[in-house]
């Protein structure tokens, strides 16, 4: 059953976001398509761990970016596309957090339970789908973030290095 989510807080009008989101979603389409296809080819075991959830629609919502992502990890036709937050497609599960939190999760640098305990991660809809996805992505040597960066060669790895040093600085700040 599709899960429809009410975005009371995040849907407040943001002129910049509203204007840029449709353009960005179109611009990002080929890029995201390439990422999801390459990751599916490289890590076929992910689909086995997902079990029945290869047909599940996930919204991944980085709260400080002007768009959200829609993921359907179907091995035959994997889908990852940017979507406007105001018009989310039908989905069964939603994962929401700041871009930094979500980056640290896909870079195998943060623990899903810990960011849930600290309320940095919000989960809604089908919890089993979310848990399956988290466990499936965690069974990757290295990280999904590193694999994605590799796809884009030196500029990708430069961006990864930058994001990692930001994450290190954040964790040092929070431990002092």
């Amino acid at each position: 059953m599709a899960y429809s989510h009410k975005h009371e807080v995040l849907n407040k009008a943001n002129p910049l976001t509203d204007l840029t989101a449709p353009a960005l979603t179109v611009l990002l389409a080929p890029l995201l398509g390439r990422v999801v296809k390459s990751l599916s080819r490289k890590h076929p075991a992910i689909f086995e761990r997902l079990g029945p959830h290869t047909k599940t629609g996930y919204i991944i919502d980085p709260t400080n970016l002007p768009f959200a992502l829609f993921l359907q990890p179907d091995p035959e036709r994997p889908v990852l596309r940017a979507v406007a937050r105001r018009a989310l497609p039908a989905h069964e599960a939603l994962i929401r957090g700041s871009f930094d939190t979500l980056f640290e999760l896909i870079d195998a640098d943060a623990d899903g339970d810990a960011v849930f305990f600290s309320r940095d991660l919000i989960i809604e809809g089908n919890t089993e789908a979310v848990v399956s996805l988290r466990n499936a992505l965690d069974d990757v040597d290295g990280s999904i973030a590193a694999d994605t960066a590799d796809l884009f060669g030196p500029p990708g790895r430069l961006a990864l290095g930058f994001l990692r040093s930001r994450a290190d600085a954040r964790s040092q700040r929070s431990s002092t």
Binding site: V9, E48, D111, A114, F117, R119, T127, E128, R134
Partner: protein, 332 residues
């Protein structure tokens, strides 16, 4: 001084490699079915994955324990027997069992493979532990989290096997291996189906004020205010209203994690052989951080230095830690 073996969790092959690389002496894991008490979606090992994982661990000098620590429903023992046969074929270093039938099967068919008694067997007296040792040749008991250090010391003197205690992680204990709370609410049994609060029965509802309600099978079992830390959605960690506590309170246990880092030297001195880190459901990041922190601590203690364990708090449930009953019986 005992060896202070570090027994570390692995929910996936990648987590197992992470644990081994971070200094685990031993890793415990389970198959993707009801034969173990972390039967969670997307978690655990296929036969091929376990074979590869055992080869990896052995090549690096680590051991692998296979958890077969649930109770087969009457007359449905085949799944557990097949799991034991597969584990023996692959060459696991020991089986962790709770059920006497499973223990008997392994002790009879594979007497050369070590048997460890799971915490799920809840054996906490010298008499109970000796019974398992004498009847099934159990070589190690994982003690329930209800004993103080002086009690552990006394037990160590009265039993013929090694002792393993939990040292870090989830602290939802009740009477281990006997808890039926989740069964009562969801119809699935922690002890037989291997899952407490199945994810399919859990729902998080966001309230208008930013609070989150965690629900199990439609029952709200806790509600976290916008700035409150959250915990696991298990009945034992639920917050309930009662006539004498209308504001709601943690009737059984609070969202808090066990952390016995500071008690390590005392536990070693009391005769504990092995220390278990809970968390097969946790990520590689958790495994890497917790295993390396305890690896350093154990190495420091062995070298006569003071152990320094900082930074584990952010991985704890509710951002809080306890020494539970190990410190004092006054705990809850």
């Amino acid at each position: 001084m005992t060896l202070a073996e570090l027994v570390c969790p692995a929910g996936t092959p990648a987590a197992l490699r992470t644990a081994v690389d971070a200094g685990a002496d031993t890793v415990y894991c389970g198959f993707r079915n009801a034969t173990n008490a972390r039967n969670f979606p997307g978690l655990n090992f296929s036969t091929d994955e376990l074979a590869t994982a055992v080869a990896y661990a052995h090549a690096k000098g680590s051991k692998v324990l296979l958890a077969l620590n649930t109770y087969p429903p009457a007359g449905q023992v085949d799944l557990w027997r097949e799991a034991a046969d597969t584990g023996a074929r692959i060459g696991v270093d020991a089986f962790i069992v709770a059920d006497m039938g499973v223990a008997r099967y392994i002790a009879t068919k594979y007497p050369e493979i070590r048997l460890h008694l799971s915490v799920q067997a809840a054996a906490s007296s010298p008499e109970a532990i000796r019974y398992y040792c004498e009847s099934f040749g159990v070589k190690r008991v994982v003690l329930p989290r209800i004993l103080t250090i002086p009690e552990i010391r006394r037990i160590a003197q009265e039993i013929p096997c090694e002792i393993e205690t939990f040292i870090f992680g989830n602290h939802g204990l009740m009477v281990e291996g006997r808890c039926s709370l989740t069964n009562y609410v969801t119809g699935l049994s922690t002890n037989m189906d291997g899952v407490c609060s199945p994810a399919a029965d859990v729902e998080y509802r966001r309230e208008g004020d930013g609070a989150v309600s965690s629900c199990l099978s439609g029952y709200v079992i806790d509600r976290f205010g916008p700035d409150e830390m959250a915990g696991y959605p298990t009945i034992c960690k639920g917050r309930y209203q009662a006539p004498h506590r209308p504001e709601g309170y943690y009737a059984f246990e609070e969202p808090v994690s066990l952390n016995l880092a500071r008690l390590l030297p005392e536990l070693i001195d009391a005769g504990v052989h092995a220390f278990k880190i809970e968390g097969r459901q946790r990520s590689k990041s958790y495994v890497r951080n917790v295993v390396s922190a305890f690896r350093n601590a154990v190495d420091d203690i062995r070298a006569g230095r003071e152990a320094n364990i900082a930074g584990l708090l952010q991985l704890t449930e509710g951002g809080r830690e306890t020494q539970g009953a190990f410190e004092t019986k006054k705990w809850r």
